[in-house]
């Protein structure tokens, strides 16, 4: 930024005298922000520390150092929680801004070390016995509590992930894909569908009852991906049956809901998701019909389909983008 530009703009009558003076004044005392550098250092530090602790436990699990390691992790966890608890603002249903990024990352470290602690207890002493569900359920509850009480989006993401773990599936789109590919399908797909719709419902309720409205995006993000992927794989699983078209219809209904929701929130991201997933679904359907014929003509048709549909897809995207902008 140079003041020369603003002087020119001032001469052209675009900005007022006082604005120009303000900008000049600001330039003279320009501050250099180390915000993102410091934040990255913190993030890296938390990552390395928690990874290192994890490996440390993994390697020393058979030696005498149990109690010492356990005590160290507990100390990190309690220390961080204590620090955050002292500085935290009271709970509110609205967004509570965190005091600073140090708070955010120490809270993250506290939660991570808590998870390691629980995992260690279960592994070494079997405190939960054979109730494996309980061993994931308790950390999940804890994470949700922390996410809401301390108002932390990152921990909310972790809590949602843990909810998936508790149900036996992963909610991260990429991992979910390989998960479904490996497993036998049916139960996975139904669980995924249930979880995805549940998350979308939570997103809806979050907004309806004004409880932490800014959590809406995170819930909807995970919910949308999981639901779409579950629906698509439901279709692929049943693609030999006649009723598989039901999956596609369900998917289009869901698309319609997300579409309206996205328009209401002016969110281009969700519009993009809608178009991508429904494009995949429709293409799958088209290929399904094309494959039934098997001469060279079908191959040409397939090529034509992809060229034309991709052009149409771009047109739709451009149209939606304009629509969101004009809202």
């Amino acid at each position: 930024m140079n003041t020369g530009l603003y002087e020119k703009l001032f001469e052209e009558g675009c900005i007022r005298q006082e604005t120009l003076d303000n900008i000049r004044e600001k330039k003279r005392n320009q501050l250099f922000s180390l915000h993102w550098e410091l934040k990255s250092l913190l993030y890296l530090g938390v990552m390395l520390l928690s990874t290192g602790l994890g490996i440390l436990i993994y390697k020393n699990i058979d030696t005498i150092g149990h109690q010492i390691i356990l005590a160290f992790i507990a100390a990190v966890c309690i220390g961080c929680f204590f620090y955050c608890y002292r500085r935290k603002k009271p709970f509110s249903k609205e967004k509570v801004n965190s005091p600073d990024s140090l708070f955010d990352y120490l809270l993250l470290l506290a939660c991570l070390s808590f998870l390691i602690f629980i995992g260690y207890l279960q592994f070494q002493y079997g405190v939960f016995g054979n109730n494996y569900g309980l061993a994931t359920f308790i950390p999940m509850l804890m994470l949700f509590y922390v996410a809401y009480d301390f108002d932390h989006l990152g921990i909310l993401s972790m809590a949602i992930t843990n909810l998936g773990v508790w149900l036996g599936i992963s909610v991260n789109p990429m991992t979910l894909l390989s998960n479904i590919a490996e497993s036998d399908g049916r139960t996975f797909i139904l669980t995924g569908l249930f979880l995805g719709l549940f998350l979308v419902l939570v997103a809806f309720l979050t907004e309806r009852f004004h409880i932490k409205k800014h959590f809406h995006f995170t819930y909807l993000h995970f919910g949308t991906h999981v639901t779409f992927i579950a629906l698509l794989f439901g279709y692929f699983e049943d693609s030999k049956n006649e009723f598989s078209i039901l999956w596609i219809i369900l998917l289009l209904v869901f698309t319609w809901y997300i579409y309206n929701n996205a328009i209401r929130h002016k969110s281009f991201y969700f519009l993009l998701l809608c178009t991508i997933y429904s494009y995949i679904a429709i293409s799958a359907l088209v290929i399904h019909f094309l494959v039934k014929g098997n001469d060279m003509g079908v191959v040409y048709l397939g090529f034509f389909y992809f060229i034309i549909s991709a052009i149409a897809f771009i047109k739709v995207l451009v149209h939606l983008n304009k629509k969101v902008k004009s809202l």
Binding site: M1, C14, L31, S33, G52, S170, M174, T175
Partner: protein, 395 residues
């Protein structure tokens, strides 16, 4: 030379500045609208999601179109020759010029895709041509010719479209060209190579810096900054102990034994450690973000280089200690800069996309810190997170 409407390019940069100033509260809505009206932009350049989407879709369209064409022409036996690739490259390039001149696309994804595809096709046409002409030449010379061609091609594309990634390609291919050229003709080539690369990247950095300061080519500013950044990286890497040792060994076919030293080892070790610190120091002194961030990254590279040769502590202990140290450094710096000092602040300076950044940040945290494989029955302590997977696992 540049293909875009220069007035619009100028307006784009002014509007960009104005948007930042508006987000920081320096100008009000009315002034912002004045500026927008005064400097209209006719380009089609949508947001980043759109750009990515259009990029991918254009790739789909291109590959299926080329596939369809090849299918039609399959019987004519012309698709094996390099003329066919050349023809495709030229057609794609014409389409690119059409999109930019007639449809006014500017960083829209469509032009990016066409640019890379046409450059790639032309390059492959060249490589095929070389293969068919000279089957007997030495391999090293082939690399020399290819890097030279990439340099010429990307220099043209950079001049025409001012794309950042292509500018970086251009600079790297130039460095590669010099590298292979020196290997052919140089005096004690292998020993002098690191020093040559140091001088070269230093010179590029200096030239780019000069160009930026004199504002000689305002439309290429982004490209020049990118080149500046990459040349800093190259400058470091050309003296990094690991690179010098391993690359030198692989080029001279003389495998170095473990613990065997290379000539001037002390110099390269010094270079490995001093340069990152110098970058950070100069970054702070000149308040240059590129130097500063580059320095931070290179400290990590230096640490990895050291660890590759000397194992003093087990990995996990290093992780824990470094983690604690990093958190500590960040903590003290934040405390120290609680109120701004010497023109530095730990607070965020608004630039309009904070909300997006926070959302993205939360997702990164979610992805990297809690993505655990589920459903396998090994215990998952390794990733720094208790994944559980209890429903099917056994502890």
């Amino acid at each position: 030379m540049i293909i875009y409407n220069k007035e619009w390019l100028n307006s784009t940069s002014i509007q960009h500045e104005a948007a930042i100033a508006f987000a920081q509260g320096d100008i009000d809505t009315e002034e912002h609208n004045n500026i927008k009206k005064k400097y209209p932009v006719g380009f089609y350049s949508p947001n980043i999601f759109m750009r990515a989407g259009i990029f991918l879709l254009t790739l789909v369209i291109l590959s299926f179109s080329i596939g369809l064409l090849s299918l039609f022409l399959y019987d004519f036996k012309i698709i094996d020759s390099f003329y066919y690739l050349l023809f495709l490259g030229v057609v794609t390039y014409v389409a690119l010029e059409f999109m930019v001149i007639v449809k006014h696309h500017y960083q829209s994804g469509a032009d990016d895709a066409l640019m890379w595809v046409s450059a790639g096709l032309l390059l492959f046409a060249y490589i095929f041509m070389m293969d068919s002409i000279s089957l007997s030449k030495k391999i090293q010379q082939e690399e020399l010719f290819i890097s030279g061609f990439i340099f010429l091609l990307s220099a043209y594309f950079t001049a025409r479209f001012a794309d950042i990634l292509i500018a970086i390609t251009c600079m790297l291919s130039f460095a590669a060209f010099i590298f292979y050229g020196w290997m052919e003709i140089g005096f004690y080539a292998l020993q002098t190579l690191p020093f040559l690369m140091m001088v070269l990247s230093g010179a590029i950095y200096y030239a780019a810096d000069l160009l930026l300061q004199r504002r000689m080519y305002p439309f290429y500013n982004n490209c020049i900054s990118a080149i500046k950044m990459i040349s800093l990286l190259l400058l470091y890497l050309s003296g990094n102990y690991f690179i010098v040792r391993e690359l030198g060994a692989s080029l001279s076919d003389a495998a170095l034994e473990e613990g065997q030293y290379i000539p001037f080892a002390w110099f390269f070790w010094l270079w490995t450690f001093i340069i990152p610190l110098l970058y950070i120091g100069f970054g702070l002194k000149k308040k240059d973000v590129v130097l500063l961030r580059g320095g931070f990254i290179l400290v990590a590279v230096a640490a990895f280089t050291f660890r590759n040769y000397y194992h003093i502590l087990p990995t996990e202990l290093v992780l824990v200690l470094v983690g604690i140290a990093l958190i500590g450094i960040a903590w003290f710096t934040m405390k120290y800069l609680k109120s701004p000092r010497n023109g530095f602040t730990a607070a965020e300076i608004a630039d309009g996309h904070i909300l997006d950044k926070i959302q993205v940040e939360s997702l990164i945290v979610g992805e990297t810190l809690s993505s655990q494989p589920v459903g396998t029955d090994s215990h998952r302590m390794g990733g720094g997170n208790f994944g559980g997977g209890g429903s099917s696992g056994s502890f």
